[in-house]
């Protein structure tokens, strides 16, 4: 059969598929590393933590989000699909009230935004939201 175009394409597709499959764990581990650093390896579970983000971002440059976790001492925010997943960490002091924060973030593409909260009792909570980010049509 030899090196026909069809064979090359099939080989290319499988190679791509393998690369993608192997690629996913590489991408996930950057996020996992951040979370492991933050939690010291402990499990983060669902809880009162809430993450408010738009379903569709009008512009990936400025995406408003709000995160809140009653009883949290700090909340870390990650953007799983950004070139660098770290976004911000809110550390609440003694004069903080509701343990929540709002900000505006940059998202490079459609992805999950992840929030992990360290609670005052040493436990961890997590939640996430998928935000669709579109490339504009004209927008100048």
């Amino acid at each position: 059969m030899g090196l026909t175009r069809r064979n090359m394409m099939l080989a290319g597709t499988s190679a791509f598929a393998v690369a993608t499959f192997c690629g996913i764990p590489v991408l996930a581990s950057a996020v996992d590393e951040h979370i492991a650093d933050f939690t010291g390896g402990a499990d983060a579970v669902a809880g009162a933590i809430e993450l408010d983000a738009p379903e569709i971002a009008e512009n990936g440059n400025t995406v408003p989000i709000t995160v809140s976790a009653p009883g949290a001492s700090s909340i870390m925010i990650l953007a799983a699909g950004n070139p660098v997943p770290a976004v911000a960490t809110f550390n609440f002091g003694p004069m903080s009230a509701a343990r929540s924060g709002s900000t505006r973030i940059r998202l490079a593409k459609t992805q999950d935004v992840i929030a992990v909260a360290k609670m005052e009792d040493g436990s961890f909570q997590t939640t996430q939201a998928t935000v669709k980010v579109t490339i504009g049509g004209c927008g100048g």
């Binding site: 440059n61 400025t62 995406v63 709000t66 953007a79 950004n82 070139p83 660098v84 770290a86 976004v87 911000a88 960490t89 809110f90 550390n91 609440f92 002091g93 003694p94 004069m95 903080s96 009230a97 509701a98 929540s100 924060g101 709002s102 900000t103 505006r104 973030i105 940059r106 998202l107």
Partner: protein
């Protein structure tokens, strides 16, 4: 000092003792992420505000570690408990070493 950096904060002027108040802050800053490339294809180096703190009468309200994914003109909204009359101090730390500050008083009657 990065060019044209200007802070803007919103704090209520008065509160009752023990009230929870909402504080909003914004600072004009390009937040160069380090991902962009210039006309010749070279990466423009990162230059952002990397930390924001708010204190009330010397005690921490919030301390935010900031990464390049925070948008240009960083905005933060958060709350604080106000036990007494005092001063909120806001501080932003720039990658280039500059520190920007502003303060707002609040009267508890």
């Amino acid at each position: 000092m990065a060019k044209g950096v200007k802070p803007r904060v919103k704090v209520p002027k008065t509160a009752a003792a023990g009230d929870m108040i909402t504080i909003k802050t914004l600072i004009s800053h390009k937040m160069e992420s380090g991902q962009r490339k210039d006309k010749d294809g070279n990466k423009i180096p990162r230059s952002i505000i990397n930390r924001f703190t708010c204190e009330f009468n010397g005690q921490s309200v919030i301390d935010v570690t900031i990464e390049p994914a925070i948008s240009t003109n960083p905005y933060f909204k958060f709350d604080a408990v106000v036990p007494e009359t005092g001063e909120f101090k806001f501080t932003w730390y720039d990658d280039d070493g500059s520190v920007y500050e502003t303060a707002k008083n609040i009267a508890v009657g």
